[in-house]
């Protein structure tokens, strides 16, 4: 045993045992990256050539051209409207869906069906959902709103369900013991425990919908994305630069506002 010291042959004890399985895992990941790059023809030469194009592209972007500011503003306002409407609807839908998905509140078959619905909402990227809605209801903001509602439900309903699953059931039990109805148990026993987290998720979702709303336009679902895509196709790179800068400004403003909103509610 290690305790029998004095023997010169004492084995060194290691505090961190070597995990060969983990090492092999990392080596496998590395090998796969090398293999995948070679298959996709990603090489140094390709990168150098690409950087050449990139330099040309960048030089055509400056100075940004704000002369068509009316078009730009119109697109931005539409994006903003899409984001706000989609977030509101998405949050309102997520509340009940997320609640139904909480396994500690609902019987199994309810929570599993709610979870399945959330999983479907999550399984596609908003761009794909936007394409589906453009095909289904036609070009324009309506498709964009619907796509982002789906994205919002997929995201916050899941987070909300998890928040509800983490609540302290002792508090719920105490409210139940007063003879409160199920609705009152929810209002007094559950909601106070999850409200601040839910507001956090919601402002985060508004942020992310703002970002997404600038993108759904690329597939024809309304907003600044459409303008951006058109400018790309006409090689109006100076106008592209103007649009990109405006989007950055809007997103930063959105972050500032949602950060403040969170603090107000805390």
């Amino acid at each position: 045993m290690a305790l029998s010291s004095g023997n010169g042959q004492q084995q060194l004890r290691k505090p961190f045992p070597v995990n060969w399985l983990l090492r092999l895992g990392w080596i496998a990941v590395l090998a796969y990256i090398v293999y995948a790059s070679s298959r996709l023809n990603v090489s140094w030469d390709r990168l150098v050539a690409g950087l050449g194009y990139g330099g040309d592209f960048l030089s055509r972007m400056v100075p940004p051209n704000f002369s068509r500011w009316k078009l730009l503003l119109e697109g931005l306002i539409e994006s903003l409207e899409i984001a706000v409407i989609a977030s509101t609807l998405g949050i309102l839908l997520s509340l009940p869906i997320g609640f139904l998905a909480a396994r500690n509140m609902m019987p199994g078959w309810v929570s599993w069906s709610a979870r399945a619905l959330i999983a479907i909402c999550r399984s596609f990227h908003p761009v794909i959902v936007a394409i589906l809605f453009v095909k289904a209801v036609g070009f324009g903001a309506l498709a964009g709103i619907m796509a982002l509602v789906v994205a919002s439900v997929g995201f916050i309903a899941k987070l909300f369900a998890e928040a509800v699953e983490e609540i302290s059931l002792k508090q719920v039990e105490a409210v139940r013991a007063t003879g409160a109805s199920f609705a009152n148990v929810i209002i007094y026993g559950v909601l106070p425990q999850v409200l601040s987290r839910f507001i956090g998720f919601s402002t985060y979702q508004l942020d992310s919908n703002l970002r997404n709303s600038t993108m759904v336009g690329i597939v024809g679902a309304g907003g600044i994305g459409g303008t951006l895509f058109a400018a790309f196709q006409r090689f109006d790179y100076d106008f592209v630069a103007a649009i990109l800068l405006s989007i950055i400004a809007v997103i930063m403003l959105g972050e500032y506002v949602s950060g403040h909103a969170r603090r107000v509610f805390e």
Partner: protein, 265 residues
């Protein structure tokens, strides 16, 4: 307050016993009973203390009374009506008249003290009013008066999670009293408190029960504290009642039969 159901005995001017438990059994897993054939009568006044080792079913027994735990078989007759066989609405209406105090207070941490007190009235207000915090003014007045009575008058708008253990348990008791209960249950109400606060909490429960003129059933693991306040002691061991009598008659031999023999006494 009018009772939701008419009781034939009550109509004869002979009020039924507040609580009568008949042949109550509970097992969480089949074949491993936690409670076996419990029979217990609680008279209309008095402080009943249940003692016994951990895991012997004290807490389960208390929770079977208001069906926070579903009994496996037997009867729990609250004012003559069997709680075990009640439908949801009747059960809710019964729970309104049974106050409960918890070991870890079980306050809604993020609500204010006064909101926690008003939780005691949630069995009476509609969800709409609960959501808008529009409790009847009489309830609000009652809550403030009660808060004064438990010595927390200046903490009404504090959040419950900012209080000390003793203060929280006072709120827990006040919440139960807000229900205007006909029976007060307490599950290890002093286990998380220091000895001095424990005595104060027990005194508060005795006083409140005296004012409401209702019986109290308390689980406790501190035998000395339990004896000090009890009018009647129930000793439980392995899911059965092994002692039932006044605290004065409780001998070391009884305690040995409740907790098992040994040099702990």
């Amino acid at each position: 307050m009018t009772l939701p159901e008419a009781d034939p005995q009550a109509a004869r001017g002979d009020p039924p016993r507040p609580l009568a438990i008949r042949g109550l059994c509970k097992s969480y897993t089949r074949g491993k009973p936690v409670l076996t054939e419990i029979d217990l009568d609680i008279e209309s006044r008095g402080f009943t203390v249940i003692i016994g080792p951990s895991g012997t079913g004290k807490s389960t027994l208390i929770r079977c009374i208001n069906r926070l735990v579903e009994p496996t078989s037997g009867q729990v007759l609250f004012e003559g009506r069997d709680v075990v066989r009640m439908g949801r609405t009747e059960l809710r209406h019964t729970r309104r008249r049974i106050g409960m105090v918890f070991q870890e207070y079980n306050l809604v941490e993020r609500l204010s003290v006064i909101e926690n007190l008003l939780c005691g009235r949630l069995g009476y207000v509609s969800p709409w009013r609960a959501w808008l915090r529009r409790f009847p003014q009489s309830d609000v007045e009652h809550a403030f008066t009660l808060l004064e009575a438990v010595g927390l008058g200046d903490l009404a708008y504090q959040r419950a999670d900012s209080l000390s253990g003793g203060q929280r348990q006072r709120v827990g008791i006040a919440r139960a009293v807000m229900q205007s209960p006909r029976l007060l249950l307490a599950d290890e109400p002093t286990s998380s408190l220091d000895p001095k606060t424990s005595v104060e909490i027990m005194e508060l429960m005795v006083n409140m029960a005296g004012e409401l003129e209702i019986p109290v059933i308390v689980n406790i693991h501190d035998v000395a504290l339990g004896r000090r306040f009890a009018d009647r002691v129930i000793g439980m061991s392995e899911g059965r009642i092994v002692y039932d009598g006044p605290p004065g008659d409780l001998t070391d031999a009884h305690l040995n039969s409740i907790y098992g023999g040994g040099g702990w006494l």
